[in-house]
């Protein structure tokens, strides 16, 4: 990071300190590239870079924020003056804010990218996309892929004396493909992401993974059967469990939603502070969020308020245990921040976010869970899903799914639908396997929209006696 940029934010903090009781800056510099292929043709190749800084300060009890990519000191001073004026004016109706007390940190950390992003040439990325396209071209009629990487350096500084430098490389791969059979179609959209270098490609094994998925969807279209009506056991593979915990444990556990601060954007939460230490599911349900998992897509060691990150147990033994907190919500609720403040980049305010949310694995084997089912469904992955804005009413539609009879997978099932509520979902958990897997996503929240990288994960989990709607109206 250039010294002139560092000098600019130091200058800004000194300037803001004259007027405010607290000020902080996040200076960020990022280099990125993206490649997109559609039906075998390279449609877009980009390499970009940016730098900029976001500044937050408290005057009286009012919070102010400004950001810019023009880090000339003259410009920063002009913006600061403008922002201070507006913040003072807003004081008459401002929510009195306190950020509580936090430790001061001096730290520097980075993620080692063994195969460096900067060394991985554009033609190698294009070759990868071509290889994936080739693997899919026989089974998938439409194929859309994009690969994106970035290396982000961040410098956090505040008037309490914290100075934190980080460097995080991230790689992500998004795809959507369609398979067609007998006048019907099925689609798969998913992504991979990690904080890593290009060595991660070996682990993802994308050509083989996507090829297997498309073959399975084709088989599902051609040979899928409908489910019998009534309540059945559902064995959810890690991908399904991952999205479930993200939507119905992570989001409702965000303290800013609990306190109504996201009410006009991402919504509120059915959870209230009074629900802490109350039961939400069976005692097999343990759900955590941990930003410090090495290599994770949501990785960080210090959040965007300079608070040291730690693992948070959101649900423990079926009881609501802890909310995700930033300094403001923690101070309001009389607890300490657990380091959940994140901003998608320098230009926007940090808000309460998940990082890597997962269902804590148990001791059973996936096969044992399947073997324990007399009649049910095994859902491997999904396509459609959603959940209401207080995080109670949710739906997951299986893409690749199978009928289980007498403990054995016997046939593909067409689009089984789970439509349930959060307490019903977690109360139905009757078995937890040991095969923890993480998946990647881009989580949306805030206004302006902050689409932030996260992992979500879990092992295979058995849900007992769930209403599963058979989507298909006839046998194939």
């Amino acid at each position: 990071m250039k010294q002139s940029l560092l000098d600019s934010v130091e200058y800004a903090i000194k300037y803001l300190e004259k007027f405010s009781s607290y000020a902080e800056a996040r200076l960020e510099s990022s280099d990125s590239s993206g490649f997109m292929m559609k039906n075998g043709l390279l449609e877009a190749s980009s390499q970009d870079s940016y730098h900029g800084a976001g500044f937050r300060f408290i005057i009286g009890k009012s919070l102010g924020f400004f950001s810019t990519d023009n880090l000339a000191k003259k410009n920063i001073k002009k913006l600061a003056e403008k922002s201070i004026r507006a913040t003072k004016k807003a004081a008459r109706l401002a929510e009195p804010i306190s950020l509580g007390d936090e430790k001061r940190y001096s730290a520097k950390y980075d993620v080692k990218d063994r195969e460096k992003i900067s060394d991985f040439s554009p033609d190698r990325k294009v070759s990868l996309l071509k290889e994936i396209n080739s693997a899919l071209s026989k089974s998938a009629a439409e194929r859309y892929f994009s690969i994106h990487d970035c290396v982000t350096e961040k410098y956090f500084i505040n008037t309490s004396g914290s100075r934190i430098f980080s460097r995080i490389p991230r790689i992500s791969f998004y795809y959507n493909f369609s398979v067609l059979s007998g006048g019907k179609s099925s689609q798969r959209s998913w992504m991979y992401g990690a904080s890593a270098g290009y060595e991660i490609l070996r682990k993802w094994n994308l050509p083989e993974t996507l090829s297997r998925e498309s073959e399975a969807l084709l088989k599902n279209l051609a040979k899928g059967v409908r489910l019998p009506r009534g309540k059945v056991d559902v064995v959810c593979a890690p991908e399904i469990v991952a999205i479930m915990v993200h939507e119905s444990a992570g989001h409702p556990g965000e303290a800013d939603r609990v306190l109504g601060r996201e009410a006009a954007q991402a919504g509120e939460s059915f959870m209230t502070p009074a629900m802490l230490n109350t039961r939400i599911g069976s005692d097999l349900v343990n759900i955590a969020d941990d930003p410090t998992i090495p290599g994770s897509y949501g990785y960080y060691l210090y959040d965007d308020e300079g608070v040291k990150a730690r693992k948070r147990m959101l649900i423990q033994g079926g009881m609501i245990n802890e909310f995700l907190q930033n300094r403001e919500t923690a101070s309001f609720l009389g607890v300490q921040s657990n380091g959940a403040a994140r901003a998608v980049n320098y230009s926007v305010e940090p808000i309460v976010r998940m990082a890597n949310t997962y269902f804590v694995p148990g001791k059973q084997k996936e096969e044992e869970l399947i073997e324990s089912v007399k009649l049910g469904v095994y859902m491997k992955n999904f396509m459609e899903w959603n959940i209401d804005d207080v995080r109670l009413n949710q739906k997951y539609v299986g893409a690749e799914a199978y009928l289980i009879k007498n403990g054995r997978i016997v046939a593909p099932v067409v689009k089984p639908v789970i439509e349930t509520t959060t307490p019903a979902l977690y109360s139905s958990v009757s078995g937890v396997a040991d095969n923890l897997e993480f998946h990647s996503g881009t989580c949306g929240k805030g206004e302006p929209m902050q689409a932030i990288p996260v992992w979500f994960g879990g092992p295979t989990v058995k849900l007992s006696k769930m209403e599963v709607l058979p989507k298909a109206a006839r046998r194939f």
């Binding site: 970009d48 401002a94 009413n393």
Partner: protein, 449 residues
């Protein structure tokens, strides 16, 4: 907005275009975008943060023998510009040509004068955006409304676009936006938005009072059974449906498997009272502008004319490939809608309600997701007030339901369109939409047992 800084950006853009052409590009587009906005967020009827955003970007798109590349330049100094141009030609040598790429528009073009998109009073608004937030909170805090949450924003944007094909377009616009939710409790609320290009059209009081009035509608709450219902969509949720429909008109989405309108050109895709337009040349349009991303003057495109799909959205390259004309919808890679309009109908909201035997008034939706983009199967969750209509009258409110149907079915069952339109931009509506309320017959409703 800093005029001197923008002028420096323009000079940098000219130099960048010169150097990119010199390095061997067949086509090049350089665009400068400067934006400054003030935002006040409020929740629990108090202002929670005051924000000021400033950004400028200088980006370049180029083709070297059908090798398509793009990059951005961080600073406006000569060194950075030359470095950016050099990088681009080297970068192009590393990627593959796209035989489908057919070039960019040939200029020069003449652009219309449109004073409706800029209001100097918005540019000079300063901290008076706080007043709008206060006015919204105050006007919505009536009756049973316990809390008000939302966001007020004022922004100014300047763009400068030049290309290797003699295009030069400079544009300037302002925007005002209010999103406001009047809350009685977590299960009982109403949400409205107001957007305008100028101070005069920014109806903060109207937006807040309508949200409060809807929230204050005190009717019993009843659980309803899953099944088919007639749905009266308020403009806010129907804008989501129209945004998705216009997206599906992009030729890029059609080719990628993201569209339910594949192979439907010239065919019926909706009921015959339904005419959908994308018109970024419309005065006061929240998505209007002088040109698209390759500098073609914006125009009115009738996407669906009385139920018949008339065109996909194209840029110059895709249009040449399909032997048609650009719709001025670049998106350099993916053509896109800019300012979506549903033609008004003749019905008042009351008339629609009176015509419904068994239905639901949906005032907002949330988390719309496709099961299959090609078939258009989707579901979405009504959010805020949802009112049950029986025999032409509002009977009660309901909660916990989900709309689960398909876009082709929904569009084919549009039975009445309102006569009063509203411009919408919201959390789930990324492209501005101008729509009245709409009645759709026989839509599938589900709920968890």
């Amino acid at each position: 907005m800093d005029n001197e800084f923008f002028q420096r950006g323009k000079e940098a853009a000219e130099k960048l275009l010169y150097f990119v052409k010199k390095s061997g590009a067949d086509d090049a587009i350089v665009s400068l975008l400067s934006r400054e906005s003030s935002q006040v967020k409020f929740s629990n009827s108090r202002i929670s943060n005051n924000m000021l955003y400033q950004s400028s970007s200088l980006s370049v798109f180029a083709s070297f023998g059908k090798r398509i590349v793009s990059t951005s330049v961080k600073t406006f100094d000569n060194r950075a510009i030359r470095k950016g141009a050099d990088f681009l030609s080297k970068f192009a040598a590393c990627v593959e040509p796209n035989p489908n790429y057919m070039g960019i528009a040939e200029g020069p073009f003449t652009y219309r004068k449109d004073s409706s998109l800029f209001d100097l009073r918005v540019e000079k608004l300063g901290d008076r955006i706080v007043d709008y937030a206060e006015e919204g909170i105050s006007r919505a805090s009536t009756g049973r409304v316990k809390r008000v949450a939302g966001n007020a924003e004022a922004s100014t944007e300047r763009t400068y676009l030049i290309t290797s094909n003699s295009v030069k377009c400079e544009d300037k616009s302002t925007a005002l936006y209010l999103s406001l939710r009047a809350i009685i409790d977590k299960d009982d609320s109403a949400h409205m938005v107001a957007v305008s290009r100028n101070i005069q059209g920014f109806d903060v009081s109207g937006c807040a009072e309508q949200a409060a009035s809807l929230a204050n509608m005190n009717v019993p709450v009843e659980k309803i059974s899953p099944g088919k219902y007639d749905i009266i969509f308020y403009p806010l949720p129907f804008a989501v449906m129209l945004d998705l429909t216009a997206n599906a008109c992009s030729i890029f989405d059609v080719e990628s498997g993201f569209s339910f309108l594949e192979k439907k050109l010239g065919r019926r895709v909706s009921s015959n009272n339904f005419t959908l337009i994308d018109n970024a040349s419309k005065e006061y349009g929240f998505g209007s502008g002088l040109s698209d991303d390759e500098g073609v003057p914006t125009q009115k495109n009738v996407l669906i004319d009385r139920g018949i799909l008339k065109t996909y959205l194209h840029n110059t390259s895709t249009a040449r490939r399909y032997k048609t004309r650009t719709t001025a919808s670049a998106g350099l890679i993916a053509p896109q809608a800019a300012n979506i309009i549903l033609s008004k109908g003749n019905y008042s909201l009351d008339e629609m309600i009176r015509s419904v035997r068994r239905g639901i008034i949906v005032t907002n939706t949330w988390y719309t997701r496709f099961q299959n983009y090609r078939t258009g199967e989707f579901s979405t969750l009504p959010r805020d007030k949802a009112l049950v209509v029986e025999n032409g009258k509002i009977k009660c409110a309901t909660r916990g339901i989900r709309i689960a149907d398909s876009m082709p079915n929904l569009l084919s069952k549009v039975s009445a369109i309102g006569k009063d339109s509203r411009q919408i931009l919201s959390w789930e509506v990324e492209v501005p939409v101008d729509t009245p309320p709409v009645l759709v017959k026989g839509i599938n409703i589900t709920r968890p047992n």
